[in-house]
Symmetry: C2
Subunit: 204 residues, 2 copies
């Protein structure tokens, strides 16, 4: 098994407000061999967003062009904007030997799992509908109409967890970080990923 084959592809998805990005950042901060696959998006940058780190921010025309050129492994509409994972970004990280984290919505997650059936998939759930409601309302600076639509979307997204191998209920951040870290750590121990190391030992 080559270094590329032993690297892990991990998909993490969640409804808005479940704390997915916080968990992804915590995991990335603890494992130097793991890098995030930065997505392209047409949504405008928010305060603090860094191009090439949080997203590649591109125009609708540029996004259209990338779609036409089949540059995306997957892309989807979310809240009137488009988000996509480029083949080039993934291949760059894998060729450098990194494991790759995809922080994507369930539509993107399902597409990545189809393209890479060995991908490890994790779904994050909020502790309750009430808590989700509060988190989305507290965060949003948008109109009540947009907030309500976001809430309805989030409730639907919560039902998509059965597509994922692992599920974490984010009621306590430290415990949720511990859970996602354990999943990543455990996946490294999958026999297929240990194969070349073990063969060296067994064959003396």
């Amino acid at each position: 098994m080559s270094q590329q084959e032993s690297s892990i592809l991990m998909v993490i998805s969640a409804p808005s407000g479940a704390g997915k990005t916080t968990l992804a950042k915590a995991l990335l901060g603890r494992y130097e061999d793991l890098r995030i696959c930065v997505s392209h998006t047409t949504r405008p940058p928010r305060a603090g967003d860094v191009h090439g780190k949080d997203y590649y921010f591109v125009s609708h025309d540029k996004f259209d062009e990338m779609v036409a050129n089949e540059a995306f492994l997957e892309w989807a509409h979310v809240h009137d904007q488009r988000y996509g994972t480029s083949h080039a970004e993934l291949q760059k990280l894998r060729s450098e030997g990194y494991s790759v984290l995809f922080d994507v919505d369930y539509q993107g997650g399902i597409s990545i799992m189809k393209a890479y059936p060995d991908a490890v998939s994790v779904f994050i759930q909020p502790p309750s509908l009430k808590e989700l409601d509060q988190r989305i309302r507290n965060r949003a600076t948008d109109s009540p109409e947009i907030i309500n639509r976001r809430l309805e979307n989030a409730k639907f997204e919560m039902t998509q967890y059965p597509h994922y191998q692992y599920a974490i209920i984010n009621d306590d951040l430290e415990s949720a970080i511990d859970a996602i870290e354990s999943i990543y750590r455990a996946e490294k121990q999958k026999t297929a990923r240990m194969e070349s190391e073990i063969k060296t030992i067994v064959l003396g």
Copy 2:
């Protein structure tokens, strides 16, 4: 999913001298919801062995009787002695809601995996053939002939890892404990085991 269905069955196997029992004890010490499934054996107790804790020590006649009564989920010959896992011991632990750890050789491990395809399986490897050799020689108080046979068996046992889902190379005890703990912790997050908890949230 009932409490019994969400409990984990974990099989841990290794060649002699790989440190399996030390790892099993470390894991049991850290998780109160996990209990070891105590095996029956015809081998005589060694200094410090406790009946009902390390093994149920039984006579060859009693073991024969249990085999005849189909009391065993699996049993096997190892070094002229017999070892078996009783249905009664497993059912007792599951009915009490515990997850169950099986510390068994590869023959027992494979039988348990056949009976329980959802069982989580972990194989422990020594860091090298040389290290395995030293550990077995240092530990043994037996004749050179028996030691040599045990070494040959251990070398063969090392080749049985592909039957197992996870593999750990025990070159550093703390790191190996961390690995097995992550596997147990991650398995708790498998979506099927989280199902009833998540349904409660999603359905509000």
